[in-house]
Each structure stands twice: as C-alpha cells, then as structure tokens.
C-alpha cells in the first residue's frame, strides 16, 4: 500500500464517518423510530472522533512526506459533454490541519451538547444537523474541485439556517433563520457563478487546472482576467457566510440558536468558511488586485463597524457575535494583504477562543450575577478604552451610531429589501385582481378536498 493509497483511505474515512452517522441516525428517525439520546450522541460523536483520528493520521503521513499535497480522485460524479463534476479531494498543508481542527471541535461540541440539550425536544434534530454540518465542512475543506466545494458550502448554509431556527416556537428564531438563509442564498450566487466561470475557463472544476504548486506557494494557471472574475465572485460568496458589511445583519440575530451551535457556527467554523475558500484560492487572488483591494476595504470596514457596534450590546451573545465579526473582518484584510499563514493561524486561534467563550457564556452570566450579588453591586470601574480619549460629543455620536448598528440594517432595508417587497406585493395584488376577474368575483381559492 503506497502513501497515496493510505491518504486516499484516510480522506475517505474523513468524509464517510460523519456522513455515516447522518444515515445511522437520520434513516430511523425518518421511519418514525428515532434512536435514544445516548445512542444519537455516541454515534455522532463517534463519527467526529473517527474523522479527527483519521485527520491526525493523515497529518502524520503528510508531515512525513514534507507536506507535499496529495490529490485523491474518487471518480466522476456525473458528466455531460465537456461538463464533468469530479469527486476530487485534496490533502495538503491547508486542508489537513483545518480538517483536524474542525472535526476535533465538532467532537468537543458534540460532547458538550449531549449534556446541554439533554431532554430537549429537538435533541435528535440538533445532532442530525450537527452531523450534516460536519459532513459539509469536511467536504468543503477537503474539496479538490469547485463542485465538491460548492456542495459542502451548501450543506453548511442549510444546517446553519436550520440550527438558527432550532427553537421553532420562537418568532425571533424563525425570523433570524430566514434572514440568514436569504443572505446566504443571495451570496451563494457568487460561488455558483464562479463554478460556472471555472468550468468554462478550464473545462472542469478541478483546482489542479486552476492553480498548481504547494499551498501557500501556488501559482495561477488561468489568465489574469479569469482570475479576477473568479476572485471577485468568491469574495462576494464569502461576504455572506463571513458576515461582512453590508450583509452582516444576520449574525447577531443568529445567536437565537442553541449555544453549542452558535459556538461552532458563528464563533468558529461557519463564520470562517469564506476565509477558508479565499485561502484555498490564494493563487487566484495573487493575480487579482481588485479582489484583494475589495477584501481589505470590506475587512477593515467590517472590523471597524463590528468593533463600534459590539461595544454597546447589552447581551453577551450579541457582544460575542460582533467580536467574531471584528476578527473575521481582520482576517479578510489579512488575506487581502497577501498573507497566507497568518490568517490561517488567526482563524484557528480565534475559532478556539471564541467557541470557548460562547460555550461558556450561559454559565459566565450566572457567575457574574453571583459575583455581583456577593459584592452587592458592580465589581469595580468600567475598563479603560481608547474611545474615552474622544471628545464627549463624538463619543455620543458614536454611541448613537452603534445603538442603531451603524444604520446598516436600516439602509439595506430601505434601499434594497423594502422596494423589492413592495414591487412583489404590488404584482401579487395585481395577480389576485386578474384572477378575480377571470374566475368571478370571489376568485379561485375556495376549493379544498
């Protein structure tokens, strides 16, 4: 058995382990025989642990070979004419550490959630969505073609939406989930269009045909024009998942979901999915200065916005959401500056810290209340911040802006959403009138059987 065969086997294990748990728990649930809590937790946790172990083995194998990338061709998914969707995966210096980190984190959150959601009505649903997320994450991280990456990306979006709306009985959760899904869906246009452009440019979605060399020193294999177009589309796609201004409004609302999912999605993995895709295609960005410029502007703008707005939040999860957004913006700017390893280290370290903070947040609040009760008031003066150096009027102006979340939601709502919905409502009203005219005064709609 060659080293390539070993890597192929391990990569397959990485993907198959969480996917198998999805089947093991999902099929009985679909057939009306939902498994017990302990079984669900162990099976899903076992899948992640197996994936993590496979990742560590893969890391050892790759390290022994000087981190030379291995491309694993699992075959062709389907093909029509020149359009072929291949199942290609890649194990290299970017994907293997990342997949170890993501599956390890999923395993830890799985263990935490087993206790946290004990006897919660949606226990099985949560773990199914976690398994779907883990499968999608592994697929996206190990993707060796843009088709596979898109498949993983979509799984992330769907699992994220359904977990934000996990507490279906809460109106806010439903609204937040729809808001997030709409943002994802619109920004996914970027990745979908990028995939089509790549297919047109090189005849397949394989990354091998887009860029060569070892990460992070790859070289672009397509003309500059193609690289610029694809990079800009990828930046647009990444904006949605990573909550960049002006489409960041969904992130604080997304904290309506259960704490474990908030930790892993919006503190750790999902929020950095965009950064990962950009790092994967760093060779294209190297050739595309407009995309790099866009990343710097978007990143710094988002970091500033989130930093200011986050300071006036009155609940811990919203504060942490804005803190995540700040770091995500900085990571975008770092990628735009042409750095590779620094943003990767930043992503991993931030993800670990933030997910711990979010997981700790319910008990941290409890501890804080106990501390204040014991001390009989607020423990000490407010910490010093650079904002206190500003004149009071400027501070007040910033405060007002921060309270209104930088007017971002208001601007997007008034300029984009409201006119669009007004137009649709008007069209729907005209349709109803026309139907009433065609079908008689009452219009169709009464028949039910």
């Amino acid at each position: 058995m060659t080293a390539h065969d070993v890597v192929a086997l391990l990569v397959t294990c990485q993907l198959a382990a969480p996917a198998a748990t999805l089947v093991l728990v999902g099929v009985p649930t679909l057939l009306g025989r939902a498994p017990a809590e302990a079984f669900t937790r162990r099976v899903v946790g076992g899948g992640f642990t197996a994936g993590f172990a496979a990742g560590l083995c893969m890391l050892a194998v790759l390290a022994g070979r000087g981190l030379r990338p291995e491309v694993v061709h699992l075959g062709s998914w389907f093909s029509v004419g020149h359009h072929e969707a291949t199942l290609d995966l890649v194990a290299d210096a970017l994907s293997v550490p990342y997949v170890c980190f993501s599956t390890g984190l999923c395993a830890l959150v799985n263990a935490f959630a087993g206790k946290y959601l004990h006897r919660e009505p949606g226990f099985t649903r949560f773990f199914l969505l976690l398994a779907l997320f883990g499968t999608g994450m592994n697929l996206m991280v190990l993707a060796g073609s843009i088709d596979v990456l898109f498949a993983g990306w979509e799984m992330l979006g769907i699992s994220s939406t359904l977990l934000i709306g996990f507490f279906l009985e809460r109106g806010n959760a439903v609204r937040a989930a729809l808001r997030a899904f709409t943002t994802y869906r619109i920004c996914d246009i970027g990745l979908l269009a990028a995939a089509v452009v790549v297919h047109r440019a090189v005849g397949s979605g394989d990354f091998e045909r887009l860029f060569g060399g070892d990460w992070p020193h790859g070289n672009c294999l397509v003309p500059t024009g193609t690289a610029v177009v694809v990079s800009l589309l990828l930046v647009f796609a990444a904006m949605g998942k990573s909550a960049m201004v002006p489409v960041s409004g969904w992130l604080p609302l997304a904290m309506e979901g259960p704490t474990p999912s908030s930790a892993i999605f919006y503190g750790a993995l999902s929020i950095h999915a965009g950064a990962y895709v950009l790092l994967r295609c760093e060779s294209l960005l190297e050739q595309a200065w407009p995309a790099r410029l866009a990343l710097i502007v978007l990143g710094l703008g988002t970091a500033l916005h989130a930093n200011v707005v986050g300071r006036v939040q009155t609940d811990l999860k919203s504060m942490l959401a804005y803190a995540s957004m700040t770091q995500s913006g900085l990571i975008f700017a770092e990628i735009g500056c042409g750095w590779r390893v620094i943003p990767l280290v930043h992503v991993i370290s931030h993800a670990i810290l933030r997910s711990l903070q979010i997981l700790r947040s319910p008990s941290a609040l409890h501890d804080r209340h106990e501390l204040e009760a014991a001390l009989g008031g607020h423990p000490g003066p407010d910490p010093w911040s650079i904002g206190k150096l500003l004149p009071e009027r400027v501070q007040a102006a910033f405060y007002r802006i921060a309270l209104d979340r930088g007017f971002e939601e208001m601007a997007v709502g008034r300029v984009v959403v409201a006119p669009f919905l007004w137009l649709l409502e008007w069209a729907a009203g005209m349709e109803r009138r026309w139907l009433a005219l065609l079908g008689g005064d009452d219009g169709p709609g009464g028949g039910r059987s």
Partner: protein
C-alpha cells in the same frame, strides 16, 4: 426486443384504464384506492421494464403506426424511457397519500383516465393524438375542479385557458398540415400554424402572461387534481416533440421555441419571486410549480445537449420534490385545515413527521447536495450560462428566489408557537411509504446521477443532432426568419 417494448408500453397505458373501468363499474368492493394502486403499481413496473429494455438498445427511437406531419402514432425513445416511470411514480404517490374522503369512485376513475391519457401522450408524437389527449387530460381536470366545493372560479379560469390552448393547438396543427413549413412554397398559413402551436404550448405551460391558471388551479382544486394536471408537464412534452430540432434553425431549435424560452425565463424568475409574498401554502406551491415548469421550458430551448439534459433533469427533480411538498401539504390540510403563511403557524408541534418530510422535499427542491435537484441545477445553470449569460443569470435568480420562498414556507408553516394544544397527528403507513419512496428516488438519483444524466444527455443529443443533419443535407429553400418553424417532417428519430 421491439415486442417487449411494445408490450411494456401497452401494459403501462392499459392498466390504469382497466382499473378505471373496474372502479367506475363499482367492482372495486367499495375500496377504489386498492384497485387504483394495484393498477398504477403495474404501470410503474412495466414502465421501469420499458426503461430497462430501452437502455439495452442502440438508442434508435422506435416509431410505429400512422404518421402525420412528422409525428408517429407510437414513439418510444430516451425521453419516453425517462418520463413514463417518472409520471407513474408521481401518480402512484398521489393515490397513496390522497385522504379517503376525496377518493370516491368517480374521482378515482377520473384520476386513472387522466393518468392513462398522460402515459399515452408520452408514447406518441402524432399531432392529432396529442390534441385528443390534451383535451382528455384537460377535461378530467376541469370536471374534477368544477365538482369541488368552492372550485367553480378555478374551474372557470382553467376552462378559459385550456379551451384557448386546445383551439390554438388544433387550428395550428391543421394549418401546418395544410401548408407544411418545410415545403418550398410555404407561406404565411404555415407560419401562423407554427406560432399558434407555440401559443398553445405557452398557455398550457402557464408561461407569462398566460400563467394565471397555474396558481389558481393549486388554490382551488383538490391537490391530486392540481398535481396530476401540472407535474407531468404535457405541454413541455409537446414542445419537445414539435418544436425542438427544427431544420430551419441553424442551431436546431425552432424560432417559436426561442421566443417561448425568453418568456419562460422571465416566468421562472417572476414565479419564484412571487412565491416569496404568497399568503397561503397552496398559492406558494402553485407559483413555485409555475416557476419550475417555466424553467424546464427555458432549458428545452437550449442549443447545447447539456441545457436540454439539465431541463429534463429539472423536469424530473422538481416534479418529484413539488409532488412531495404538495402531498405533505394535503396530508397536513386533511388533519388541520387550510394553512396561511402571513404568520408562523406552529404546525411542527402537532405534526413533526410531516414537518420533517416537508423540509426534506423542500431541500430536495432547492438543491441540497446529494439530491437530484443539485445535479439538475448544476446542469441547467451551466448550460444556460454557456449559451447566454443573461439566461443563466435569470435561471440563477429563479433558483435563489425559489429557495428563499421554499424555506419561508417551511418556517411559516411549522415555526411559531402551537396555536391550540391538541393531539399529535400521526403519519399513516401509506403516507410514509409514498413520502419515503419519493425521497429515496430523489436521493438515489442525486447520489448516483450518472446513468440518468447520461440517458438524458443521449436523448438530448439525439434531438439536437438529428435536426442538424437534414439542415446540412437539405438546406431549407426559404428565409427561415419569416417562415414557420415547426417541423412536422418524418425524421429518422420518428418525430
């Protein structure tokens, strides 16, 4: 092999007709569902056998019987081999899920006759047969809607649309036969005929601005009737047989179909956008169905086999997922009444299993990786973008908006606090069988799509490729832009 194919085709059509006769004569022992399910199971098995047999042939279409205007009385090809099992699965699922109170013998007999007519239509390309079967399928739908309490308005809307479509189709076909567009001396009569046939397809397919009957049917008719009338997409089939592969067009597509495709693209995006603001679940499904149906027609006008294959793939994937959504909605309505969308209805708490199935069908309709719709979206988006950038963007817009509308529908039906504290609604075995079967088909074809995609690609290539050959061998005498474009010649593939 030929005898086996013909035998399988005959069984597929005859089984529901025989069952309809049995049920109408009152011989079903008071249980019309059993006879109907048995007949449609037989149809499904025979249609699958036909597909299997077809896959073992060299791909040459089998045409037999009287020919008129290029169409054969009996035609079996790659399209037939895919559409027959698809239609059988849809109709069988409808029968399994239908609530008992809506399955009186007359309704079952109508459903079976309509199903047999649809099967027969998929086995023919003869213009006269198509007209007759258009009338038959429309008539059973109209009677069913008319007999539904409160359905008269929808019946009237449907009747206006279908009567116009059938008249256009009949007159157009006559004009084409009288003044064949492929003849050297072809004139305005044939041209008018071609455009009338295109208009008929447009109306029957619910293409803007003739789309209103589509959501009206879903809003006013029993779900079985609405799904049976729309999911097989008989007008798309007519377009495939009469408009694709026309020798006039340099790229093998009739000029009428190109115009239809432009309007279909607009309809696909418009329908998906409109679905976002619908106030009740049935209207949401109706507008989504209208959008998906238009998307199929838009892809059918493609000049690349990938576009055609993508359109056929969307035909099957959207049909199965929308059938699933429609049937879950019907099951839900039969337990808890009609469902509005203005505010979250909180149905999750009394029907969690139905919520799960609705979600899975919805995800299977919006491109969840691993389902057939992911493959279909990939093909149709890539194909249309390869062909025309603006077309691709409209297709992307319709898939994005359709996804948003679907998820809004799910969250508004199942999200929210429980309105009334009542008993949980269990799911019946026959419902679970139907839903699981539909889902399994969507997932199996999504995870292992290559055989289906290759079959569709081969069928699409043959449709386009056959058209190109005569245009090289026998260049058309007249200027194509001003002449009728519907090709009714006897072509090597039997069209």
């Amino acid at each position: 092999m030929t005898d086996s194919l013909l035998g399988a085709a005959a069984v597929t059509v005859a089984a529901p007709l025989a069952a309809a006769a049995v049920v109408a004569a009152g011989l079903g022992g008071g249980r019309p569902r059993r006879a109907a399910v048995a007949a449609l199971t037989l149809s499904l098995v025979s249609s699958l056998a036909l597909s299997l047999l077809w896959s073992r042939t060299d791909g040459m279409p089998l045409a037999a019987g009287d020919r008129l205007g290029g169409g054969a009385l009996l035609l079996i090809d790659g399209i037939t081999a895919v559409l027959l099992p698809y239609a059988a699965v849809v109709e069988l699922a409808i029968l399994l899920v239908a609530p008992r109170r809506s399955l009186d013998p007359a309704a079952v007999a109508r459903l079976l006759v309509g199903t047999a007519a649809t099967f027969a239509l998929f086995l023919s390309s003869h213009p006269v047969v198509m007209i007759v079967l258009w009338v038959a399928t429309a008539l059973v739908t109209w009677i069913s809607v008319r007999d539904t309490p409160g359905g008269r308005a929808a019946a009237r809307t449907f009747a206006i649309a279908m009567a116009t479509a059938v008249v256009c189709m009949a007159v157009g076909t006559v004009l084409l036969v009288v003044d064949p567009p492929w003849a050297t001396a072809a004139g305005w009569v044939g041209a008018t005929g071609g455009w009338l046939v295109a208009l008929a397809v447009m109306i029957r397919k619910g293409i803007f601005p003739f789309h209103s009957w589509y959501p009206a049917l879903f809003a006013g008719a029993p779900m079985s009737t609405a799904l049976s009338a729309t999911m097989p997409q008989v007008a798309a089939y007519t377009a495939v047989r009469l408009l694709i592969g026309h020798v006039d067009h340099p790229e093998g597509v009739a000029a009428e179909l190109v115009v239809l495709a432009e309007l279909a693209l607009v309809t696909a995006a418009y329908g998906a956008a409109l679905a976002i603001v619908q106030r009740d679940l049935r209207s949401l499904i109706g507008t989504l169905a209208m959008s998906q149906s238009a998307l199929v027609l838009a892809g059918l006008a493609g000049t690349l086999p990938m576009e055609l294959a993508g359109a056929l793939c969307v035909w099957v994937s959207s049909g199965l997922s929308l059938t699933g959504i429609g049937l879950v909605t019907w099951a839900l309505e039969s337990r808890a009444g009609s469902i509005g969308l203005d505010t979250p209805q909180g149905r999750f708490w009394d029907a969690p299993a139905l919520a799960g199935f609705f979600l899975l069908f919805g995800l299977a309709g919006i491109g969840l990786p691993g389902t057939l719709s992911f493959v279909a979206d990939d093909l149709i988006v890539s194909g249309t973008l390869d062909d025309h950038i603006y077309a691709g963007l409209l297709v992307i817009a319709s898939t994005v908006l359709g996804g948003i509308a679907t998820m809004r529908g799910w969250f508004h039906v199942f999200g929210g606090p429980l309105a009334a504290d009542g008993p949980r609604h269990a799911i019946l075995l026959r419902e679970r069988v139907a839903f699981t079967g539909l889902l399994a088909t969507l997932f199996v074809l999504g995870l292992w799509p290559d055989p289906l995609v290759r079959a569709l690609d081969r069928a699409a290539g043959r449709l386009l490729g056959v058209a190109a050959a005569p245009s090289v061998a026998e260049p058309h005498a007249g200027p194509s832009a001003t002449e009728p474009a519907v090709d009714l010649q006897v072509l090597p593939d039997g069209r």
